[in-house]
Subunit: 340 residues, 2 copies
Amino acid sequence: MAGGTSCPQLVAAVSEAGGLGFLAAGYKTADGMYNEIKQLRGLTGRPFGVNLFMPQPALADPSAVEVYQHQLAGEAAWYETPLGDPDSGGDDNYDAKLAILLEDPVPAVSFTFGCPTRDTLDAFAGVGTYTVVTVTTPEEAQVAQWAGADAVCVQGVEAGGHQSTHRDDPQTDGAGIGLLSLVSQVRETVQIPIVATGGLMRGSQIAAVLAAGAEAAQLGTAFLVCPESGASLLHKQALTNPLFVRTALTRAFSGRPARGLVNRFMREHGPYAPAAYPQVHYLTAGLRKAAAKAGDAQGMALWAGQGHRMARELPAGRLVRLLAEELDAARTAVSTGSTQ
Amino acid sequence: MAGGTSCPQLVAAVSEAGGLGFLAAGYKTADGMYNEIKQLRGLTGRPFGVNLFMPQPALADPSAVEVYQHQLAGEAAWYETPLGDPDSGGDDNYDAKLAILLEDPVPAVSFTFGCPTRDTLDAFAGVGTYTVVTVTTPEEAQVAQWAGADAVCVQGVEAGGHQSTHRDDPQTDGAGIGLLSLVSQVRETVQIPIVATGGLMRGSQIAAVLAAGAEAAQLGTAFLVCPESGASLLHKQALTNPLFVRTALTRAFSGRPARGLVNRFMREHGPYAPAAYPQVHYLTAGLRKAAAKAGDAQGMALWAGQGHRMARELPAGRLVRLLAEELDAARTAVSTGSTQ
C-alpha cells in the first residue's frame, strides 16, 4: 500500500503480531520516509520492510495530459480546487531513498512498477537487506530472478490499488491474470520464493496460495480497515458499503491502472483517462483531497481489492493472529481429504 | 465447454478415469444433444453431466447488430463468406432439451448464462438429476441457492470461453472477479457445495480451491489439447504458441464477453463489438469456420483460460490421473507446514 495508508502504527502492529509489516515509501520525500522508519523503529524491534516505487520513464505523449487537464476542468470548479502540477516529478525520489536504505539498512525492501538493476539488488544483498520485486506476469518474474531479487511478490488482477506492471502498456489493459493462475505460472518459471498477493482476506485463502506453490502471502485491503491504518474514515466505510459493490481498474486518478471501488469520478473520467503516470496522480491529488474533505466518497480514489466486502474491522495484531488460526485450520482440513 | 469441443469421446475418457465429464449441449439441436448422449452411454457406464445454455432475453438494441454487420463487411469479403443470420434463435432449444433430459435423465445437468426456475430445478431433482448453476458473483450464487440448485459452479474471471454472468450488462464489463477471491465470497454467502472453475491447470491449484472452501474443481482449457477433444488442431496448437501469449475478454465473436487468445479479429473488432448474444455468434459463425478452413488462427475464436500456456497434451484419462496425483501431493505438502 502506498501513501499514508501503510503507516508506522499499522506496520508496527503487524510486525509485533508475527507478520512482516511493510512501510509505504511511495509519494514521500526521502526524509519523510526516513522519519517514518525511525518512528517505526521506536514502535517495534521486530523485522519490517519498506516498499519503493520505481522511477517512471518519460511520457510518450505529454499532450494527452493537457487534454485530460481540460477534461477535468469541471471537477476543479466543482471542488473549488485548482488542478495540481502534473510535472511534480516522475522518479519518486528513488535515488535518495536508495541512498538512505543502503546507509541505514532495513530488514526487507520491496519494489513496485519495475525491477531494480542488478547493481541495486546486489548492494542491498551486501547490506543484508532481503529484496522483493513485485510482478504481474511470468516474464516479469523471470527478469526479477535474473536481476538477483531474493523473492517475487506475485500480484494477481484482484489486487487493490495499482497494478505493478513493469511497463505500462495500454495494449495490455484487460490482460491482468488471476492470482491462482499467475502463482502457478510463476512457480513453473522461477526458482526464488513467491509472495502471493491480490484479493486475499482470509487464512483459508493463504492456505490456498501456499498449496499452489507460494511461500508467503501479502494482504493489503484486509488491513485497510484496521484502526491503525492511515486510510480515511470515508475510505474505510466505503469498503463494506453496499453502495460500492463493484471494483474496477482505472487510470482516472493516477494515469496507471489501479483497482478501486467504482464511483462517480471513475465512471465519468475512466473511459478517456490517459496513460500518464504519475502526471495524472499529481493532477488529481488536490481534487481527491478536496473530495475527502467535503465527505464526498464519489470523488475520491477508493482503492480496494476484489475481496473488500470481506474486510473485518479488527486491530491489526488481532487480525494477524486470526489469519494464522484460519490458515492452520484450512491446512488441516485440506489434508484430511484424499482422491485415492 | 460449448460446441463440439467437449464431445462424447472426451467426456467418456474423463468419466472413465474417475472425473465427471460434461457434455456440451450449447449451440446444438435437441436431437443432436440426445444423439451425443446415446453415443456417450455407449462409451461409458460411469456418471457424466450435460451443460445447457439458458435462453437469452430479447435484444435491447437490434440496430447495434446491424451496425456491427456493416463493420464486418471487410471480413466477409476477405474470407469470401457471407455473414450469418443473426436471428437464428436466442433460446438454444432450451425447452426441447429440458424435455429430453427429464424424459431420459442423466446423472448431472449444469446451466450457463442464468439460473433455471425453481420448477425446472425441482423437476430435475424429481428424476434424480444433480443440478449445478454456474455463477460469477456472490449474488448469482444466492439466487441459485434460492432456486434450489444442488451446487454452484463458481467461475472466476480467468476462465476461457464465455463468462457465465446471468445478465449481460456492459456496465459491469471489467468487474470480473478472480477465482480465489470469488470462491471465498461465495463460500460465505451460500451453504450448497461449490465447484470452482477458471484457469485451473494443475492438481496443486485444485488443492488450492479446496483449501479456500470449494468441494470440487472444473477444468476446461486443460482438456482442450487432449487428443479426444473436439477442438481444431489450429486451436490446440495456438494455446501454447508464443505468438498468442495474452488472453482477453471480448464481445467480438459472440456479443457476450468471452476469454480467448488475443488475435487480429479480437484486436480489430473487440473495441466496438456490441452486447448482442447470440446474434453476433450467428453473424460470425461462418467467418470463423472459413478462417479455420483457411488455416488462419488470426480470424478464429481461440477460446482459452488464463492458464493456457500450462496445457499438457496428454490423453484425457492420463491427465485426470496426473491431476489427482498432483492434488494429493499438494495436500500433503500444505499440511506439513504450520504457523505456530
